[in-house]
Amino acid sequence: MTPHFGLPEFGFLLRGLQWTVLLTLVAFAGGCTAGLAVALLRTCGHRSVEWITRIYIGIFQGTPLLLQLFVVYYGLALTGLKLDAFAAVAIGFTVNASAFLGEIWRGAIQAVPRGQTEAAMALGLHYSSRMRDIVLPQAIRISLPATIGYLVQLIKGTSLAAIVGFIELARAGQIVSNQTFQPLLVFGVVGAMYFILCWPLSWWGSRMEARLALANQR
Protein backbone atom coordinates (compact mmCIF):
# COMPACT_ATOMS: atom_id res chain seq x y z
CA MET A 1 0.00 0.00 0.00
CA THR A 2 2.76 2.45 0.80
CA PRO A 3 5.60 2.07 -1.63
CA HIS A 4 8.90 3.72 -0.86
CA PHE A 5 10.38 6.32 -3.08
CA GLY A 6 12.05 4.18 -5.69
CA LEU A 7 12.60 3.93 -9.40
CA PRO A 8 8.92 3.74 -10.42
CA GLU A 9 8.17 6.84 -8.39
CA PHE A 10 11.15 8.59 -9.90
CA GLY A 11 9.87 7.60 -13.32
CA PHE A 12 6.50 9.07 -12.40
CA LEU A 13 8.15 12.37 -11.52
CA LEU A 14 10.02 12.27 -14.80
CA ARG A 15 6.74 11.93 -16.66
CA GLY A 16 5.52 14.94 -14.73
CA LEU A 17 8.66 16.73 -15.82
CA GLN A 18 7.81 15.95 -19.43
CA TRP A 19 4.48 17.70 -18.99
CA THR A 20 6.20 20.64 -17.39
CA VAL A 21 8.53 20.96 -20.35
CA LEU A 22 5.74 20.55 -22.86
CA LEU A 23 3.52 23.11 -21.14
CA THR A 24 6.44 25.51 -20.97
CA LEU A 25 7.21 25.14 -24.65
CA VAL A 26 3.62 25.69 -25.67
CA ALA A 27 3.24 28.67 -23.37
CA PHE A 28 6.52 30.19 -24.47
CA ALA A 29 5.82 29.76 -28.16
CA GLY A 30 2.35 31.21 -27.77
CA GLY A 31 3.57 33.94 -25.47
CA CYS A 32 6.34 35.00 -27.84
CA THR A 33 3.98 35.33 -30.77
CA ALA A 34 1.28 37.17 -28.87
CA GLY A 35 3.86 39.13 -26.86
CA LEU A 36 5.43 40.49 -30.03
CA ALA A 37 2.04 41.74 -31.15
CA VAL A 38 1.44 43.29 -27.73
CA ALA A 39 4.85 44.99 -27.79
CA LEU A 40 4.29 46.38 -31.28
CA LEU A 41 0.81 47.64 -30.42
CA ARG A 42 2.14 49.15 -27.22
CA THR A 43 4.69 51.19 -29.19
CA CYS A 44 2.67 51.88 -32.32
CA GLY A 45 2.19 55.57 -31.67
CA HIS A 46 -1.61 55.65 -31.53
CA ARG A 47 -2.65 56.89 -28.12
CA SER A 48 -5.83 54.82 -27.81
CA VAL A 49 -4.26 51.58 -28.99
CA GLU A 50 -1.37 52.09 -26.62
CA TRP A 51 -3.72 52.66 -23.73
CA ILE A 52 -5.79 49.57 -24.44
CA THR A 53 -2.64 47.49 -24.66
CA ARG A 54 -1.43 49.03 -21.45
CA ILE A 55 -4.63 48.06 -19.64
CA TYR A 56 -4.39 44.54 -21.07
CA ILE A 57 -0.88 44.26 -19.67
CA GLY A 58 -1.95 45.78 -16.37
CA ILE A 59 -4.73 43.25 -15.91
CA PHE A 60 -2.63 40.19 -16.58
CA GLN A 61 0.31 41.42 -14.58
CA GLY A 62 -1.93 42.49 -11.75
CA THR A 63 -3.72 39.22 -11.02
CA PRO A 64 -2.43 35.83 -9.94
CA LEU A 65 -1.77 33.35 -12.72
CA LEU A 66 -3.60 30.77 -10.60
CA LEU A 67 -6.83 32.72 -10.86
CA GLN A 68 -6.29 33.54 -14.52
CA LEU A 69 -6.19 29.82 -15.22
CA PHE A 70 -9.34 29.30 -13.18
CA VAL A 71 -11.18 32.00 -15.05
CA VAL A 72 -10.05 30.82 -18.47
CA TYR A 73 -10.82 27.22 -17.64
CA TYR A 74 -14.28 27.85 -16.25
CA GLY A 75 -15.11 31.06 -18.02
CA LEU A 76 -14.54 29.81 -21.55
CA ALA A 77 -16.54 26.71 -20.70
CA LEU A 78 -19.47 28.94 -19.74
CA THR A 79 -19.48 30.58 -23.13
CA GLY A 80 -19.96 27.13 -24.59
CA LEU A 81 -16.41 27.02 -25.86
CA LYS A 82 -15.45 23.80 -24.17
CA LEU A 83 -11.74 23.34 -24.54
CA ASP A 84 -9.89 20.42 -23.11
CA ALA A 85 -7.66 21.15 -20.17
CA PHE A 86 -4.57 21.37 -22.34
CA ALA A 87 -6.03 23.98 -24.64
CA ALA A 88 -7.38 25.96 -21.70
CA VAL A 89 -4.04 25.95 -19.96
CA ALA A 90 -2.24 26.78 -23.20
CA ILE A 91 -4.51 29.77 -23.69
CA GLY A 92 -4.16 30.87 -20.08
CA PHE A 93 -0.39 30.69 -20.14
CA THR A 94 -0.17 32.29 -23.58
CA VAL A 95 -2.23 35.26 -22.55
CA ASN A 96 -0.29 35.68 -19.34
CA ALA A 97 3.05 35.31 -21.07
CA SER A 98 2.05 37.73 -23.80
CA ALA A 99 1.47 40.42 -21.20
CA PHE A 100 4.81 39.89 -19.47
CA LEU A 101 6.85 39.41 -22.65
CA GLY A 102 5.01 42.27 -24.30
CA GLU A 103 6.03 44.55 -21.47
CA ILE A 104 9.62 43.32 -21.50
CA TRP A 105 9.90 43.84 -25.22
CA ARG A 106 8.19 47.21 -25.12
CA GLY A 107 10.94 48.32 -22.78
CA ALA A 108 13.56 46.88 -25.10
CA ILE A 109 12.09 48.52 -28.18
CA GLN A 110 12.05 51.84 -26.41
CA ALA A 111 15.60 51.27 -25.20
CA VAL A 112 16.88 51.17 -28.77
CA PRO A 113 18.25 54.68 -29.23
CA ARG A 114 15.88 57.02 -31.02
CA GLY A 115 18.70 57.89 -33.42
CA GLN A 116 18.52 54.39 -34.88
CA THR A 117 14.94 54.87 -35.95
CA GLU A 118 15.69 58.35 -37.21
CA ALA A 119 18.64 57.17 -39.25
CA ALA A 120 16.44 54.46 -40.75
CA MET A 121 13.73 56.98 -41.55
CA ALA A 122 16.26 59.33 -43.07
CA LEU A 123 17.35 56.46 -45.34
CA GLY A 124 13.77 56.08 -46.53
CA LEU A 125 13.04 52.77 -44.80
CA HIS A 126 9.42 51.99 -43.98
CA TYR A 127 7.89 50.84 -40.68
CA SER A 128 8.14 47.13 -41.45
CA SER A 129 11.76 47.33 -42.52
CA ARG A 130 12.63 49.67 -39.65
CA MET A 131 11.19 47.22 -37.16
CA ARG A 132 12.45 44.04 -38.78
CA ASP A 133 15.91 45.17 -39.82
CA ILE A 134 16.84 47.83 -37.31
CA VAL A 135 14.81 47.98 -34.11
CA LEU A 136 13.80 44.40 -33.35
CA PRO A 137 17.23 42.80 -33.83
CA GLN A 138 18.66 45.26 -31.32
CA ALA A 139 15.66 45.09 -29.00
CA ILE A 140 15.84 41.32 -28.86
CA ARG A 141 19.47 41.52 -27.86
CA ILE A 142 18.68 44.03 -25.16
CA SER A 143 15.74 42.02 -23.88
CA LEU A 144 17.37 38.62 -23.95
CA PRO A 145 18.31 38.46 -20.26
CA ALA A 146 14.86 39.55 -19.16
CA THR A 147 13.22 37.18 -21.62
CA ILE A 148 15.24 34.28 -20.28
CA GLY A 149 14.39 35.37 -16.77
CA TYR A 150 10.74 35.23 -17.66
CA LEU A 151 11.17 31.80 -19.25
CA VAL A 152 12.38 30.56 -15.89
CA GLN A 153 9.32 32.10 -14.22
CA LEU A 154 7.19 30.34 -16.78
CA ILE A 155 8.73 26.95 -16.10
CA LYS A 156 8.00 27.41 -12.44
CA GLY A 157 4.58 28.83 -13.18
CA THR A 158 3.49 25.70 -15.00
CA SER A 159 3.21 24.08 -11.57
CA LEU A 160 -0.10 25.91 -11.35
CA ALA A 161 -1.50 23.84 -14.21
CA ALA A 162 -2.12 21.24 -11.52
CA ILE A 163 -5.29 23.01 -10.50
CA VAL A 164 -7.02 22.10 -13.73
CA GLY A 165 -5.90 18.50 -13.51
CA PHE A 166 -2.47 18.37 -15.05
CA ILE A 167 -0.09 15.96 -13.46
CA GLU A 168 3.00 17.99 -14.14
CA LEU A 169 6.08 17.93 -11.99
CA ALA A 170 4.78 19.71 -8.89
CA ARG A 171 1.53 17.75 -8.89
CA ALA A 172 3.35 14.50 -9.51
CA GLY A 173 5.45 15.35 -6.51
CA GLN A 174 2.36 15.83 -4.36
CA ILE A 175 0.94 12.53 -5.51
CA VAL A 176 4.12 10.62 -4.87
CA SER A 177 4.53 12.33 -1.53
CA ASN A 178 1.03 11.24 -0.63
CA GLN A 179 1.75 7.66 -1.53
CA THR A 180 5.17 7.37 0.03
CA PHE A 181 4.89 9.67 3.05
CA GLN A 182 8.33 11.00 2.32
CA PRO A 183 7.51 14.61 1.54
CA LEU A 184 10.94 15.99 2.22
CA LEU A 185 12.65 13.51 -0.03
CA VAL A 186 10.04 13.89 -2.73
CA PHE A 187 9.94 17.69 -2.67
CA GLY A 188 13.69 17.70 -2.51
CA VAL A 189 13.83 15.66 -5.71
CA VAL A 190 11.13 17.78 -7.31
CA GLY A 191 12.96 20.95 -6.35
CA ALA A 192 16.18 19.53 -7.75
CA MET A 193 14.46 18.71 -11.03
CA TYR A 194 13.15 22.24 -11.37
CA PHE A 195 16.57 23.51 -10.48
CA ILE A 196 18.26 21.41 -13.14
CA LEU A 197 15.77 22.69 -15.68
CA CYS A 198 15.94 26.35 -14.69
CA TRP A 199 19.45 26.94 -13.51
CA PRO A 200 21.26 26.65 -16.86
CA LEU A 201 18.80 29.16 -18.26
CA SER A 202 19.28 31.53 -15.35
CA TRP A 203 23.01 31.21 -15.67
CA TRP A 204 22.89 31.91 -19.38
CA GLY A 205 20.65 34.90 -18.72
CA SER A 206 22.91 36.51 -16.15
CA ARG A 207 25.96 35.95 -18.29
CA MET A 208 24.19 37.67 -21.15
CA GLU A 209 23.24 40.49 -18.84
CA ALA A 210 26.79 40.94 -17.66
CA ARG A 211 27.99 41.06 -21.24
CA LEU A 212 25.42 43.61 -22.24
CA ALA A 213 26.29 45.74 -19.24
CA LEU A 214 29.93 45.58 -20.29
CA ALA A 215 29.07 46.54 -23.84
CA ASN A 216 27.04 49.49 -22.55
CA GLN A 217 29.90 50.78 -20.46
CA ARG A 218 31.98 51.24 -23.55
Binding site: F12, K82, A162, I163, G165, I167, I175
Partner: protein
Protein backbone atom coordinates in the same frame (compact mmCIF):
# COMPACT_ATOMS: atom_id res chain seq x y z
CA UNK B 1 -22.48 16.18 -23.81
CA UNK B 2 -25.54 13.99 -23.91
CA UNK B 3 -25.43 10.24 -23.52
CA UNK B 4 -25.93 9.97 -27.23
CA UNK B 5 -22.88 12.22 -27.92
CA UNK B 6 -20.82 10.05 -25.64
CA UNK B 7 -21.83 6.87 -27.39
CA UNK B 8 -21.14 8.42 -30.74
CA UNK B 9 -17.69 9.56 -29.67
CA UNK B 10 -17.02 6.27 -27.93
CA UNK B 11 -15.52 7.97 -24.87
CA UNK B 12 -17.01 8.89 -21.53
CA UNK B 13 -15.13 11.57 -19.60
CA UNK B 14 -15.03 10.72 -15.91
CA UNK B 15 -14.05 13.10 -13.15
CA UNK B 16 -12.07 11.40 -10.43
CA UNK B 17 -9.63 12.21 -7.68
CA UNK B 18 -6.03 11.93 -8.67
CA UNK B 19 -4.27 11.62 -5.36
CA UNK B 20 -6.54 10.02 -2.83
CA UNK B 21 -5.82 6.33 -2.54
CA UNK B 22 -7.61 4.04 -2.33
CA UNK B 23 -10.55 6.02 -3.70
CA UNK B 24 -9.04 7.47 -6.76
CA UNK B 25 -5.38 8.04 -7.47
CA UNK B 26 -2.80 7.86 -10.19
CA UNK B 27 -0.29 5.12 -9.56
CA UNK B 28 3.42 5.36 -10.23
CA UNK B 29 3.02 4.08 -13.75
CA UNK B 30 0.60 6.89 -14.47
CA UNK B 31 -2.47 4.66 -14.51
CA UNK B 32 -5.64 5.80 -12.79
CA UNK B 33 -6.49 3.40 -10.01
CA UNK B 34 -8.59 2.97 -6.89
CA UNK B 35 -12.15 1.91 -6.27
CA UNK B 36 -13.53 4.94 -8.13
CA UNK B 37 -11.38 4.09 -11.12
CA UNK B 38 -12.70 0.56 -11.14
CA UNK B 39 -16.22 1.94 -10.94
CA UNK B 40 -15.50 4.30 -13.79
CA UNK B 41 -14.09 1.57 -15.99
CA UNK B 42 -17.04 -0.67 -15.24
CA UNK B 43 -19.38 2.19 -16.13
CA UNK B 44 -17.67 2.78 -19.43
CA UNK B 45 -17.85 -0.90 -20.17
CA UNK B 46 -21.55 -0.79 -19.31
CA UNK B 47 -22.02 1.99 -21.87
CA UNK B 48 -19.84 0.20 -24.36
CA UNK B 49 -17.37 3.06 -24.64
CA UNK B 50 -13.88 3.85 -23.46
CA UNK B 51 -13.21 5.61 -20.16
CA UNK B 52 -11.23 8.82 -20.04
CA UNK B 53 -10.27 9.97 -16.56
CA UNK B 54 -9.76 13.58 -15.56
CA UNK B 55 -8.01 13.79 -12.18
CA UNK B 56 -9.54 16.64 -10.17
CA UNK B 57 -8.55 18.45 -7.01
CA UNK B 58 -11.17 18.22 -4.28
CA UNK B 59 -12.42 21.72 -4.80
CA UNK B 60 -12.69 21.35 -8.56
CA UNK B 61 -14.95 18.37 -8.74
CA UNK B 62 -18.30 20.11 -8.88
CA UNK B 63 -17.23 22.96 -11.14
CA UNK B 64 -15.71 20.50 -13.55
CA UNK B 65 -19.04 18.73 -13.81
CA UNK B 66 -21.31 21.76 -13.94
CA UNK B 67 -19.22 23.47 -16.60
CA UNK B 68 -19.35 20.32 -18.68
CA UNK B 69 -15.70 19.39 -18.52
CA UNK B 70 -16.58 15.88 -17.41
CA UNK B 71 -19.67 13.77 -18.07
CA UNK B 72 -19.89 12.13 -14.70
CA UNK B 73 -18.09 12.12 -11.37
CA UNK B 74 -16.85 9.03 -9.58
CA UNK B 75 -14.87 11.21 -7.26
CA UNK B 76 -15.48 10.29 -3.64
CA UNK B 77 -18.52 12.52 -3.66
CA UNK B 78 -20.26 12.17 -0.31
CA UNK B 79 -23.99 12.56 -0.59
CA UNK B 80 -24.85 15.80 1.22
CA UNK B 81 -28.03 17.88 0.94
CA UNK B 82 -26.25 21.15 0.14
CA UNK B 83 -24.30 19.52 -2.64
CA UNK B 84 -27.47 17.93 -3.97
CA UNK B 85 -28.56 21.42 -4.85
CA UNK B 86 -25.67 21.69 -7.29
CA UNK B 87 -25.42 18.19 -8.70
CA UNK B 88 -27.62 15.17 -9.27
CA UNK B 89 -26.60 12.18 -7.15
CA UNK B 90 -27.13 8.56 -8.11
CA UNK B 91 -27.87 5.77 -5.67
CA UNK B 92 -24.99 5.23 -3.21
CA UNK B 93 -22.28 2.78 -4.23
CA UNK B 94 -19.79 2.99 -1.41
CA UNK B 95 -19.90 3.81 2.31
CA UNK B 96 -17.49 5.96 4.18
CA UNK B 97 -17.12 6.98 7.77
CA UNK B 98 -16.04 10.45 8.81
CA UNK B 99 -14.05 10.53 12.02
CA UNK B 100 -11.58 12.62 13.87
CA UNK B 101 -8.20 10.89 13.90
CA UNK B 102 -5.31 11.66 16.21
CA UNK B 103 -2.35 9.90 17.76
CA UNK B 104 -3.10 7.49 20.58
CA UNK B 105 -1.57 9.83 23.14
CA UNK B 106 -3.81 12.76 22.25
CA UNK B 107 -6.75 12.78 24.65
CA UNK B 108 -9.85 13.69 22.69
CA UNK B 109 -13.09 12.23 23.99
CA UNK B 110 -15.74 14.72 23.06
CA UNK B 111 -16.48 17.39 20.52
CA UNK B 112 -15.59 19.96 23.15
CA UNK B 113 -12.05 18.56 23.41
CA UNK B 114 -11.43 19.55 19.77
CA UNK B 115 -11.22 23.16 20.91
CA UNK B 116 -7.89 22.47 22.61
CA UNK B 117 -6.13 21.37 19.47
CA UNK B 118 -5.35 22.49 15.97
CA UNK B 119 -7.38 20.40 13.56
CA UNK B 120 -6.54 19.85 9.90
CA UNK B 121 -9.02 19.08 7.15
CA UNK B 122 -8.94 19.02 3.36
CA UNK B 123 -10.60 22.22 2.22
CA UNK B 124 -14.22 21.85 0.98
CA UNK B 125 -14.36 18.16 1.83
CA UNK B 126 -16.97 16.34 3.89
CA UNK B 127 -14.48 16.28 6.76
CA UNK B 128 -14.32 20.05 6.54
CA UNK B 129 -18.09 20.34 6.90
CA UNK B 130 -18.27 17.82 9.72
CA UNK B 131 -15.41 19.21 11.78
CA UNK B 132 -16.54 22.77 11.24
CA UNK B 133 -20.06 21.91 12.42
CA UNK B 134 -19.04 19.79 15.41
CA UNK B 135 -16.09 21.65 16.84
CA UNK B 136 -16.71 24.27 19.51
CA UNK B 137 -16.59 27.86 18.37
CA UNK B 138 -13.06 29.23 18.21
CA UNK B 139 -11.41 25.93 17.37
CA UNK B 140 -8.42 26.46 15.13
CA UNK B 141 -9.19 24.61 11.92
CA UNK B 142 -6.59 24.59 9.18
CA UNK B 143 -7.75 23.82 5.69
CA UNK B 144 -5.40 22.24 3.19
CA UNK B 145 -5.68 21.65 -0.52
CA UNK B 146 -6.15 17.89 -0.32
CA UNK B 147 -5.91 14.71 1.74
CA UNK B 148 -2.20 14.49 1.03
CA UNK B 149 -1.36 17.81 2.60
CA UNK B 150 -3.75 17.15 5.49
CA UNK B 151 -2.12 13.83 6.33
CA UNK B 152 1.29 15.41 5.94
CA UNK B 153 0.31 18.18 8.33
CA UNK B 154 -0.63 15.65 11.01
CA UNK B 155 2.52 13.61 10.47
CA UNK B 156 4.76 16.66 10.70
CA UNK B 157 2.96 17.89 13.79
CA UNK B 158 1.58 21.07 12.24
CA UNK B 159 -1.85 19.91 13.42
CA UNK B 160 -2.73 17.48 16.23
CA UNK B 161 -5.81 15.90 14.74
CA UNK B 162 -7.45 15.66 11.35
CA UNK B 163 -10.94 15.19 10.02
CA UNK B 164 -10.59 11.80 8.37
CA UNK B 165 -12.31 9.30 6.18
CA UNK B 166 -12.15 5.54 6.60
CA UNK B 167 -8.68 5.30 5.15
CA UNK B 168 -6.74 7.86 7.04
CA UNK B 169 -5.76 5.61 10.01
CA UNK B 170 -4.46 2.93 7.72
CA UNK B 171 -2.30 5.42 5.81
CA UNK B 172 -1.16 7.37 8.83
CA UNK B 173 -0.09 4.23 10.65
CA UNK B 174 1.78 3.02 7.64
CA UNK B 175 3.85 6.17 7.80
CA UNK B 176 4.40 6.45 11.55
CA UNK B 177 3.23 3.28 13.25
CA UNK B 178 4.80 4.27 16.57
CA UNK B 179 2.20 6.98 17.16
CA UNK B 180 -0.77 4.66 16.82
CA UNK B 181 -3.25 6.87 15.02
CA UNK B 182 -6.85 6.01 15.79
CA UNK B 183 -10.32 7.45 15.33
CA UNK B 184 -11.27 9.53 18.36
CA UNK B 185 -14.67 10.85 17.39
CA UNK B 186 -17.21 9.41 14.99
CA UNK B 187 -19.09 12.07 13.13
CA UNK B 188 -21.20 10.38 10.57
CA UNK B 189 -21.52 7.55 8.16
CA UNK B 190 -21.55 8.81 4.65
CA UNK B 191 -22.37 7.31 1.33
CA UNK B 192 -20.76 8.22 -1.94
CA UNK B 193 -22.69 8.40 -5.16
CA UNK B 194 -21.93 9.14 -8.77
CA UNK B 195 -22.78 12.68 -9.82
CA UNK B 196 -24.31 13.99 -13.00
CA UNK B 197 -25.63 17.42 -13.92
CA UNK B 198 -28.96 18.55 -12.49
CA UNK B 199 -31.89 18.07 -14.83
CA UNK B 200 -30.14 15.62 -17.08
CA UNK B 201 -32.49 12.69 -16.48
CA UNK B 202 -30.99 10.33 -18.95
CA UNK B 203 -27.55 10.38 -17.33
CA UNK B 204 -29.01 9.89 -13.87
CA UNK B 205 -31.15 6.94 -14.94
CA UNK B 206 -28.24 5.29 -16.67
CA UNK B 207 -26.02 5.70 -13.63
CA UNK B 208 -28.65 4.20 -11.35
CA UNK B 209 -29.26 1.23 -13.66
CA UNK B 210 -25.54 0.64 -13.78
CA UNK B 211 -25.23 0.69 -9.99
CA UNK B 212 -28.16 -1.67 -9.61
CA UNK B 213 -26.53 -4.02 -12.05
CA UNK B 214 -23.14 -4.22 -10.36
CA UNK B 215 -24.77 -4.61 -6.99
CA UNK B 216 -26.73 -7.62 -8.20
CA UNK B 217 -24.07 -9.28 -10.34
CA UNK B 218 -21.37 -9.24 -7.65
CA UNK B 219 -19.05 -6.85 -9.37
CA UNK B 220 -19.31 -4.30 -6.56
CA UNK B 221 -18.55 -7.01 -4.03
CA UNK B 222 -15.37 -7.70 -5.99
CA UNK B 223 -14.32 -4.03 -5.82
CA UNK B 224 -15.10 -3.93 -2.11
CA UNK B 225 -13.01 -6.99 -1.46
CA UNK B 226 -10.15 -5.60 -3.47
CA UNK B 227 -10.01 -2.06 -2.02
CA UNK B 228 -11.87 -2.06 1.27
CA UNK B 229 -11.06 -5.58 2.40
CA UNK B 230 -14.68 -5.77 3.57
CA UNK B 231 -18.09 -7.00 2.43
CA UNK B 232 -20.55 -4.65 0.77
CA UNK B 233 -22.62 -2.91 3.47
CA UNK B 234 -26.33 -2.30 3.22
CA UNK B 235 -27.11 1.04 1.66
CA UNK B 236 -30.04 3.21 2.81
CA UNK B 237 -33.12 3.44 0.62
CA UNK B 238 -33.11 7.21 0.88
CA UNK B 239 -31.06 10.03 2.35
CA UNK B 240 -32.90 13.14 3.53
CA UNK B 241 -32.37 16.03 1.14
CA UNK B 242 -30.49 13.95 -1.38
CA UNK B 243 -32.75 12.55 -4.09
CA UNK B 244 -31.24 9.64 -6.00
CA UNK B 245 -33.30 10.23 -9.10
CA UNK B 246 -33.76 13.28 -11.25
CA UNK B 247 -37.09 15.04 -10.86
Amino acid sequence: GTLEDVKKKGVVVIGIQGDNPPWGYVDSSGKQDGIDADMGRAFAEYLGVKAEFVPLAVANRIPALTTGRVDILFATMAMLPERAKAVQYSKPYVANEITLVAAQATPINSNADMGKYVIGVPRSSTQDTQVTNSAPAGTEIRRFDDDAATIQALLSGQVQAVGANSFYPQRLNAAKPELGFEPKLHFTALYNGACTRLGEKEWNETANKFIDQIKSNGKLAGFYAKWMKAPVPTFPESIPGVPFTAQ
